[in-house]
Amino acid sequence: MSEQKTVHFIIERQDSPDSKPYTEEFLVPYRPALNVVAALMEIQKKPVTKDGKKTTPVVWECNCLEKVCGACMMVINGKARQACATLVDQIPQPIRLAPARTFPVIRDLQIDRSVMFESLKRIQGWVEIDGSWEVNTAPIQNPYTAATAYEISHCMTCGCCLEACPNVGPQSDFIGPAPTVQAYLFNLNPLGKFDKEKRLNALMEKGGITSCGNSQNCVEVCPKDIKLTTYLAQLNRDVNKQALKNIFNK
């Protein structure tokens, strides 16, 4: 009788925001195309550690399992990524899972990313329209500009880029690459650009774009391949221009 092939997980757990982290190890039955979320689901069905100790199911966040909702971001073998799109065949074992500690931990692998949504308020991440009723027909757009907007608009607020950025953390107020680059998205829009100055001024404040150290880590980890550093550089130029303009208009 051949032994069933298993996948070895070492999971960093934490019972509550203030309690001490600890690790537990699990063996999950292998199957082709197994991804990390599916493996965590197996642990839910049988919450028993590698040593046969009964435990509680691991807590994590997930929704779509298609790499579009951004919920299941965690640190897998040291790298921030979406758990659903991480196939166990593609990474070495044992597989180490940890919460993205750039954010406060709620429990186990679940983290609190509300700061990212707050930052979207700060950069005024919306197009100011008069109302949802009929007003005007929207302006025609250059299809190439629209394609750039489409690329940036894939950002799912997962937080990989914040986790990877050396300037996001307790030592700095930097709001991080994702929310910053969203300002560029709305500045591209033919109606959104009416508020371009507001957004650029918001990025001049503490925690804005001057806190970006250009380490280029963000672009490496973005699961949506958004050219974050390109847009950060362009925004930086726009902010500098705006700063000069502000001086001369004083």
């Binding site: 049988k46 509680t56 949504f117 329209i129 009929e134 829009n189």
Partner: protein, 585 residues
């Protein structure tokens, strides 16, 4: 003067659209969601949103969109409601365009349109292959603006448990639970909108997100809300089978020229093109799903004898594919490992969408006063089968109706008295007691294993082909699963982010909803749209041109099924065929 205090449960496309309308009308709202609303399931919609933009020189009309939708739904949809939706669609697209949705554009800079199933004209507006994501983000952004203005208070990571009615039986509040602190609270409101999405997770593996469990719908059903047409479950013909979930491969693949085939006598057989020459690969979903099932299961012609067929894009130039379908091709490569630009994809049908849901009138009122429902959780617009790219439309459109209607309730005398502190406290205490008894469950069943069994059962008996004898068996098994629910053991006894205990509560709701689907399927002895019974292969308008209504029997815990007339006054039912052109006008 009343504050117009509304509760919206669910932050997908419909809930957010309703939220915007409520704010614009001067209302204030509390928005409850399992997750940050930006992560709601609407974002999984890929292919597009239907609207008669008529920019392709095809003389498309809103009437044609209306007729396609009614015909595609096998004449079971309320026609006045559908007509309103199709007429409003182009205006909604203009609104989304103004909000900054990065729609795919033509060389001239206007919104591009693509083909979709069951429609002869190009009518589907799209943003690459992530249209739902882009539409959801636009509404999320607009709601964030209202949040900054103090009109929206979000309760994200809160689970809806049940509604609270006042002495006049009017819905005047809800009980919900904070998913981290586990604290349970009662909230009062003038009216409540449920926009909680579909029940796909009842089937275990499906194309839905893990949050689409139908639990909220089941909860209000147990409190007296009627469910309509629950037997009509859409099986999407082209999904990537997976052990954790089936991942959707958009109908846009076929809309952009993708062909479905398998080998027969050693040669590629494009069976949809052979069987349905008039529509070919662009037949509606129920038709395509049944054809694939027939080819694989009855004829044994699946790839290598397995339940798979090819969905082939490899004949289309890579640059074109990248522009029109980029996101999903990348998803296929990532989860399967093959490049669909070079080799045909392998797909099989999967549970995808529920045409049925909470019964509502054309203003999205349920049968419980001041409780409204909109989006996939309601039963409106799609009849017996939904056309692709009509779901984003119905989600957004229904929010534009339910939001203002909730405001109307808030200004009406009919809602009676606000909930008293005593009523709020009693409702809360009942939920606290239920939750504590779940936490203390010490039986032998694992809730996730039991859910797995539920999914297998529903997938086997309540999907593409339905047989009465098997449905009877399925119902018996569901009763056993319900009984076994009482014997669940909860391993996590804690009161902090206890996902296991919350899942146990959801699971019971899922089982009761599964019974509604199964029983309604058992009772409808005909074949119509997604509901197919070989024993009754024809549509029977004389007996079943009616809405199925399910009500909860509090004693037996089972649904009672009845039938209700609906409005089909505008287009006379005619035979639905896709091998020849549709006819009618």
């Amino acid at each position: 003067m009343s504050k117009k205090n509304i509760i919206v449960v669910g932050g997908g496309l419909s809930g957010l659209m309703a939220a915007i309308k409520i704010c614009e009308a001067g209302g204030e709202l509390k928005l409850f969601s399992y997750c940050p609303v930006k992560r709601s399931h609407s974002l999984c919609a890929q292919g597009g949103i239907n609207a008669c933009m008529n920019t392709k020189g095809q003389n498309d009309t809103t009437w044609e969109h209306f007729d396609d939708t009614v015909y595609g739904g096998d004449f079971l949809a309320d026609q006045t409601a559908v007509k309103g939706m199709c007429e409003t669609a182009p205006k909604l697209i203009k609104m989304f365009d103004r909000m900054g949705v990065p729609f795919t554009r033509t060389a001239e800079g206007v919104l591009d349109l693509r083909n979709f199933g069951g429609q002869k004209n190009k009518r589907t507006v799209f943003a690459g292959s992530t249209t739902g994501q882009q539409l959801l983000y636009a509404l999320d952004e607009q709601v964030r603006k209202w949040e900054v203005k103090g009109k929206v208070k979000k309760y994200e990571f809160w689970e809806f448990i049940k509604i609270i009615k006042n002495d006049k039986n009017v819905c005047r509040g809800i009980v919900a639970q904070n998913m981290n602190s586990m604290e349970i609270e009662a909230f009062s409101a003038d009216a409540v909108i449920l926009a909680t999405g579909g029940p796909g997770v009842i089937f275990g593996r499906c194309t839905a997100s893990t949050i689409c469990n139908g639990s909220a719908v089941s909860a209000v059903y147990q409190q007296g809300a009627e469910i309509g047409n629950s037997e009509f479950i859409q099986i999407h013909p082209t999904a990537i089978p997976g052990s954790d979930k089936n991942r959707l491969m958009s109908e846009a693949c076929r809309g952009e020229g993708g062909r479905v085939w398998t080998y027969k006598d050693g040669k590629p057989w494009y069976f949809l093109e052979t069987m349905y020459p008039a529509y070919g690969n662009l037949v509606p979903r129920d038709i395509a799903a049944r054809a694939i099932y027939d080819v694989c299961v009855n004829q044994g012609l699946g790839i290598n004898g397995e339940n798979r067929v090819y969905l082939d894009l490899s004949h289309i130039p890579a640059e074109y594919l990248e522009r029109k379908l980029g996101g999903i091709l990348e998803m296929y490569s990532e989860f399967v490992g093959d490049d669909p630009r070079k080799v045909p994809m392998q797909i099989y049908p999967s549970v995808h969408y529920s045409m049925g849901g909470i019964w509502v009138d054309t203003k999205h009122n349920t049968n419980i006063p001041a409780l409204l429902a909109s989006g996939e959780c309601d039963y409106q617009y799609h009849g017996a089968n939904r056309l692709g790219a009509n779901s984003l439309l119905s989600a957004a459109y229904s929010g534009t109706i339910s939001g203002p209607e909730a405001i109307r309730w808030s200004e009406s005398d009919e809602i009676g008295d606000e909930l008293t502190d005593v009523q709020l406290a009693a409702a809360k205490q009942a939920c606290v007691d239920d939750f504590e008894s779940i936490i203390s469950m010490n039986g032998i069943e694992n809730a996730h294993e039991l859910h797995h069994e539920l999914g297998d059962l529903m997938n086997k008996y309540c999907t593409i082909v339905r047989v009465n004898k098997e449905l009877d068996y399925c119902m018996d098994e569901l009763k056993k699963i319900l009984a076994r629910w009482n014997d669940i053991g909860v391993s996590d006894k804690g009161h902090w982010a206890n996902q296991e205990a919350m899942f146990v509560r959801q699971l019971r709701n899922m089982i009761l909803y599964a019974m509604v689907i199964c029983k309604a399927a058992r009772m409808r002895d005909e074949s119509r749209g997604a509901h197919y019974k070989p024993e009754f292969p024809d549509r029977n308008d004389e007996k079943f041109l009616k809405t199925t209504i399910a009500s909860y029997n509090t004693e037996t815990h089972e649904p009672e099924i009845s039938y209700r007339d609906f409005d089909h006054s505008l287009i006379k039912p005619r035979p639905r065929r896709y091998d020849v052109a549709k006819g009618g006008k």
